[in-house]
Each structure stands twice: as C-alpha cells, then as structure tokens.
Subunit: 273 residues, 2 copies
C-alpha cells in the first residue's frame, strides 16, 4: 500500500490530471487500447480479482513470490475502490478490458465488470514491467520491445514458485536483450524497483532456466537478439495467471495483458533508492 | 578524501587498533606478507608515488578513468603522512613491500623507501578489489580466488583508457566466475562501492573485450570457470601500472601487488548506499 503526500507537487498534479482523464475515457468506454506509453511516468498495475474464499491463499502466494507478484494494493472484500492508488479509481470500470476466467478457463472478455461484481470480490494490484521499462529508457538504454513496438517476449521456465493452497506453477519471465555493459546498467536500474519485479532473475544461457528456443516465446512476440547481446530475464506478471489456471477458482477476473490499470503513483515512488 | 567521525565507534576503535598494530609490524620490518584477509573490514589501498612533475597528469588520468583508478587519497608534495586514511600512516615505511620503476622498468623491490624519498613525491592511494570481495563474501557469495586461495585472474583488454599527458594504455580487468543469479547479486553488491572499482565492466564472452583465452591470465593465477558459470569482469588496479609503464617517468614507486596499504577506513565507509 502506497502512502501519498496530501499536497501533490505541481509535477504530480499534472500527471494525476492526465491519469484521471484517461480513466474517465476508459470508464465511459471510449478507450480500450493497450496502455503502454499512456500517462507516462505513472505506475500501471496488473489486476487479479478473486472471491474472498480464494483471496487469502492468493495473498500468501504473492507474499511467497514477491519478485513475480509484487503487491502494490489489496482491496477490502467487496469494496471496488482503490483509494490508495488514486482517489477516483473504481476497479469495476477503470481498466480498458478484462479477462474472465471460470474454473481456470478464459470464458469472456469485457470492458466493464459491474454486472459480474460480487460482494466478496477482493482486488489485487501488482506492479508491472512498464515501470522499470520507463526507468531503463530514462537511463538511456534502448528497450528492444519498445523500439520495435512489439509485445515483450515471455517464456515459461523451470523455476518453481512457492505454492500457497491451490495456487502453484512455474515462473514466467520476460526477456529483453542487451549488450553486456547495458545489461549491467539494466540490473542496477531495475534493482531500485522491487515493486516492479526488481532485478533480473537470470542472464545468459536460456536453457539453464528451461527455455529451449528464444525465438518461440510462450506469450508475446519474439524479440530479435543481436550479435554479442545477452538475453536478460525478469520475473513476469503473467506468473500469477498461470497459478490461477492451476488453481481453477470458480471465477477470477484479470486485466487483458497490456491493458493495465493506470494509477496516481509515480514510478519513482516505487523506487527503494 | 574520506572524512572520519572524530569519535570512532567501539567497532571502529577495535579495528583501528588491529590496523595500527599491523602497520607497526610492517614499519619495523616484521611483516612483509600479502595483506589479503589482514584487519578484515578495513579498506586496503593500491599505492602509486610519483614526482610532482608527473603527478598532475597522473591525477587527471585517475579522474579520467575513475572505475579503474578510484582515488581515495592524494598527498601534498613531499608530505609522507596520509592523515585522512589513518593518523599514524607514513607511506615511506607502512607498506609491506614496494616496487621501484625507473623509466617504466622495475628495478628494485624494497620494504622501506626512506632512502629513496624525494621532497617532490606525491602519493596516490587507490581503492582496491579487497573491499568489494569482502562485501561479496558478506553477501553470502563464494569468491573463487578466495575459495581456492589463489591470486585473482587479471587480463589486458581492448578497452582503451582516457589518456592524460604521457599516461595511457588499455584497461586491465580482474575476473571472477559466478552462476547467473549470483552474478546479478554481485553486480548489485559491487555497485555500492564505486571507490573500489564499483560494478563490473563486462559479463559473458571474454572475446568481446579482447581476451582470447581465459585460462591464460596476463597477471595472477588462472581461475577455474565451472559449467554454467558466467565470467564477470571488473576494472582492476593494475591498469595504472600499465599506464606508468607507458609513461616512463624517471622514478615511480608502487606497492607490490597483493601487499597493500592498510587504512583506518571501513569498507562500508566507501559504500555510496
């Protein structure tokens, strides 16, 4: 849970106004696109909504696996507002598009979950790689998936997460290629952001974490790895979706990948240093 | 130049007493061994002594190349004491063994430079990898050269340093092998210590920095690189010795590698975070 100053700076007020306007457009159904690059500088969040009966195990799953599942907010049961992340956020309407899973299977994609809302729903907001990509770009590094305007490459690994109740599964990672000196800088920059997956979990040979072919990602698009570049792997917010697919709760709602919740927190407010 | 508290803590006082005792033994000629592991926790320094006519160019060389040549103290010309690093330090006697170079060639190795001292000598003290190896071990990592009780592997590279006057040459690096996750942690840990060479300058393929055969170091001993390990390369304090060999001053005095100046500064006082 993030604590905000009561008097936002002029810089923050300007960004908050942008975020509020985008959320308003999303709320009235006029914006349902991917949110990459929107209200740049503000934290965007991965969303998981579960019935309270399943929420306690999932909360422990996040706490057991903080690199893949960095919690930035958890709601009270049945309470759809997320005041700690933005005064006007209503999770039922303020995400561009939702995936609805029933018993672990995707059954619907919707832009509003008012009709699905249950009085026992608990909302989880998890930090997302957009925050650290913003930091990498501001550090002067080129992020391949942004440069090529493609989705980042994501892979299932052989790294087991720590189970909690019925939630379990292997870690999913995202990969960005860098020359060695830039990879070292990327490790420094992302270490500052543990609430956005933090430092990489692996660098170099993909086979060591169970990835046989970098050109065939399990999610997202393949990224070109240029000569002399090292693949650098970060824990990925798709990991909890895999755990949900294993757990098979009667209902679970997530954002559609890439279409995130835009918050009123600065990326730099997530930084530990 | 390091600023010390006027009232050292009990922890510091205890280490200062150890350091002062070792320096006393060195001063009276009873200790001339390598200083690795001696007065553990305190900064040890690389030493370069040059006539003032050469010192200004060398000072600029260090400032141009702060990763290879991290300056922690520079003396006044002709002044042999280094009060900022320890109240009782006299550089003429307090290093276990010195190398004397004339016109770039090693001509003598001595345990005391009183008879060689010139009124225009300027002493440079540079941070050393012992400080970051201490930090790596305290972080629970295994440092191969410490584990095997050998000298670290050092290599000439194709990375050009920034010249200053007659001082120039390529960077020398030290190499320590780690599994990927430990390499990432090592980057984090050593990033805190820019005055002890800081983060690595390269990771992975040695050929990319002009090293053809890891098993044939240019200085020190070969280290075993185990399967799945990545070689990680840090800038090395031998770099200035190469620059001195190129510059060929009429006289230059350095410590004998591995036989360092023991200071009264904590390794943790070098840390920026």
């Amino acid at each position: 849970m993030l604590i905000k100053n009561s008097q936002p700076s002029a810089y923050k007020s300007q960004l908050f106004a942008q975020a509020s306007e985008v959320r308003k457009q999303i709320r009235i159904g006029k914006f349902n696109q991917p949110t990459s690059g929107v209200a740049s500088g503000l934290v965007q969040g991965n969303i998981v909504i579960l019935p309270q009966e399943w929420a306690n195990d999932f909360l422990r799953y996040c706490q057991n696996n903080p690199v893949a599942c960095p919690l930035i907010a958890v709601s009270q049961p049945g309470y759809p507002l997320l005041n700690t992340l933005g005064e006007d956020i209503d999770i039922r309407t303020d995400v561009p598009e939702f995936n609805v899973f029933r018993h672990g299977k995707l059954t619907e994609t919707v832009t509003d979950i008012n009709s699905l809302w249950q009085s026992d729903f608990v909302t989880f907001v998890l930090g997302c790689s957009f925050s650290f990509e913003d930091a990498l770009e501001r550090a002067g590094l080129t992020v391949r998936n942004i440069e090529s305007n493609t989705n980042v490459s994501m892979y299932r690994t052989n790294i087991e997460t720590t189970a909690s109740g019925r939630f379990h599964g292997n870690m999913v990672v995202s990969m960005r290629p860098f020359l060695a000196a830039d990879a070292i800088r990327a490790i420094q920059v992302t270490s500052r952001l543990p609430k956005a997956h933090g430092a990489p979990v692996h660098i170099g040979d993909p086979k060591l974490i169970g990835i046989d072919d970098l050109s065939k990602p399990d999610f997202g698009d393949a990224a070109e790895v240029h000569p002399h570049e090292l693949p650098v792997f970060w824990a990925c917010g798709v990991t909890p979706q895999v755990a949900i697919a294993h757990a098979k709760p009667p209902i679970a709602i997530t954002h559609v990948p890439g279409k995130m919740l835009i918050t009123d927190c600065l990326n730099d407010e997530l930084a530990v240093l």
